[in-house]
Symmetry: C2
């Protein structure tokens, strides 16, 4: 069979395990050296393709590629950049084809979420629309867990494990001190539109009164009076109250809690987090002593506490993407299909990219407890398998060891291109 | 030899390893069952002694006590409560003696920081001032690392490892995305007066340009113009800037950065964190896209990422406290003495409690880089050994397994007492 090169790139917010997918793609390509020549990684996602800024991964040792499996962040650089429509921005697509042709790239692997799937879909159409023979496969990734079809999105299981563990640990801290100190603790987690990560916080406790006592979802309109009443009830009943709140929590009118309505000395609207905003409400309405934390990037970078299930799935979707491409599939995504909850069994199937791009999967109402402040057993059955197993990275000198790549650039052959 | 009971309690902010000290105390007492009868743990620190709210640890299995070694938080409840002076609050001391007499308590182990050492010191003086034969030993603990004499404070090494690791991981995330997204990341860490925890963040990088690019200490007056200039320089030079800032960062006039001067809709002073305050300055002065995180309790509860060195020292000070008490010492604290930096060697020596109580150990100026935004090699030599080694807890169902104690109460024999 003819041998051609592959392009791989990372797109959108990175995760603790996106590099495990990179590892899966590159190792699978290396196993198929009869058909796939080199893997060129785009520096900063699709921008690397547009600007001909390509990293020659064949220069990396086996050990360096294997180390990607336990390295957080995006090793080749990621981007927030979506290809425009081909009708209005034809020059971009012509440039892509020029770069692909120049470097004999016929396989395109794009590792990202819903927005990135749209970019991958557009590239997959280059065969049809512009006659360039490309096989494009999307490798799913997003901590938000909002991709459709796939059982979960690689990256989510690890952030879920991190948030559940952090909630458990911090709750033990607050329980210890509540008699004379902090009574309300608020942990802000990611998820601007979908409450999956907040829901994972609920895995920290199960029985009556076990923290977290409230989970606040973006899917449920926030009712200040109702929330404050519940918080006060918990403090009275259990001595303390632990709250996990999604950054996307909002009022019935759609406005975010995080938009606290305060202005700074210059009249600028204060961009507060939702955790301090909620903590302020506790102070104003209840007067309880509080603390708050905002996990922000710590949660999606926490490879030290990755879920083994998640790492395995992240690797598998990368590896399967290559198999699908070699099987001649185009405009597809390897999706994780759940076969069984407990014990968790899953396999990978090929899903049509057109059904993935630009879609968002929200928490179904039946996963949220009737009072809106917790998860149901069905949700627990869904989430629990995703945090199973540990996959600690190697440590060196007290810190996680990460991949050190050469990131050797492929020689540029084309004129500059402005993105 | 005569057999008497022991009292053990936890005081002040808890840590990831304070229960490892509890484990050390209780296991050592059990090994000396000829001289020590039962260990009664005070529920919520000294308050448990005052209110006769005692937990009979002899009811706990060997397994449960061993599990304390990997359980964060304070298993017996902690408190923020300092004994008043004996001259003005004699009734409190009489009550303590009454409780000790009633339950045949002759050994007093108090596990806390500088303020708690003061309480322990006052109890140690009961022999002299009120004729009750008590042997009081302070078991050091504080994430702030601000206790004098001891090489470090148990609890600090684990928070240092957590912050260094989190800084490393989050930095990889930001480096991936900075071309088209976040350029400045601010991580707020604990340490209201002393910058030890912030300094630990600097362990994440070492070479020129390696993150974190700025560490902001409470010991160095904050100069907004200078800090912003440095941040901007980093963004220009490295593409991004990672900042670790101590919650206690303050201006030359002593006012905190966290007091952002903003007011909410009700005219209340906004209690912002220092991270959002600093992020706001970046927005106002530089206009770079930013993100911020506030680790808060997550950092001091993160037993899942404890330093093995810290766990071993926390256990050892607990165990040695018992040996010291049995050797007839009173008003002492087991202090960690550094014998060698690399390889790290340490031993425990007995230190006079009077020299520990109410003292704070700040970062010496020679540990802070001349420009005020980083640590020196001397600081690195000091800090590095403290984060060495991992001691992952057992996991069950995807989450850390924690000690489940019965917390059986000792029967009350005395009238109520109000604290």
């Amino acid at each position: 069979m003819a041998q051609h090169n592959a392009f791989y790139a990372q797109s959108g917010g990175v995760t603790a395990v996106i590099n495990a997918s990179a590892c899966g793609v590159i190792e699978a390509c290396r196993q198929h050296s009869d058909r796939i020549g080199k893997v060129y990684a785009g520096h900063n996602g699709i921008i690397g393709a547009l600007t001909e800024d390509l990293i020659d991964t064949s220069q990396e040792s086996e050990e360096a590629i294997a180390a990607l499996r336990h390295t957080p962040g995006g090793a080749f650089g990621s981007c927030r950049y979506k290809l425009k429509d081909i009708d209005t921005h034809r020059a971009q697509y012509e440039r892509l084809i020029e770069v692909f042709k120049t470097h004999d790239i016929r396989y395109f692997f794009y590792n990202g979420g819903g927005d990135s799937a749209d970019t991958c879909l557009k590239v997959s159409q280059l065969s049809e629309t512009m006659g360039y023979p490309i096989t494009a496969i999307h490798v799913p990734k997003t901590v938000d867990n909002d991709l459709p079809i796939t059982d979960n999105s690689p990256g989510f299981g690890s952030v879920a494990k991190y948030i559940a563990t952090s909630t458990l640990e911090a709750s033990l801290d607050i329980a210890s001190m509540c008699a004379t100190s902090t009574k309300v603790f608020v942990l802000e987690v990611m998820g601007r539109h979908a409450g999956w990560i907040a829901a994972a916080g609920a895995l920290a406790g199960e029985g009556e009164g076990e923290p977290p006592h409230l989970v606040i979802f973006p899917e449920i309109p926030f009712d200040r009076a109702k929330a404050m009443a519940r918080i006060d009830e918990c403090v009275k009943q259990y001595g303390y109250c632990v709250i996990v709140v999604s950054e996307g929590a909002r009022y019935a009118d759609g406005s975010f809690l995080a938009d606290s309505g305060t202005v700074d000395a210059f009249g600028h609207r204060q961009l507060g987090g939702v955790a301090p905003a909620l903590a302020n409400m506790v102070r104003e309405d209840l007067g309880h002593k509080y603390h708050w934390a905002v996990a922000d990037y710590l949660q999606r970078a926490a490879r030290h506490l990755a879920s083994r299930t998640d790492v395995e799935q992240a690797y598998a979707v990368g590896q399967q993407a290559v198999e699908m491409a070699l099987a001649g599939q185009n405009a597809r995504m390897p999706a994780i299909i759940r076969v069984n909850d407990n014990p968790y069994e899953w396999r990978i199937e090929s899903a049509p990219l057109a059904e993935v791009a630009n879609q968002e999967k929200f928490m179904p109402r039946e996963y949220i407890r009737e009072d809106g402040f917790g998860i149901t057993d069905a949700c627990r059955r869904y989430l629990s398998p995703l945090i199973q197993g540990e996959d600690f990275p190697p440590f060196e000198n007290g810190l996680p060891k990460v991949a050190k790549l050469k990131l050797a650039r492929v020689e540029r052959k084309l004129p500059d291109f402005q993105v």
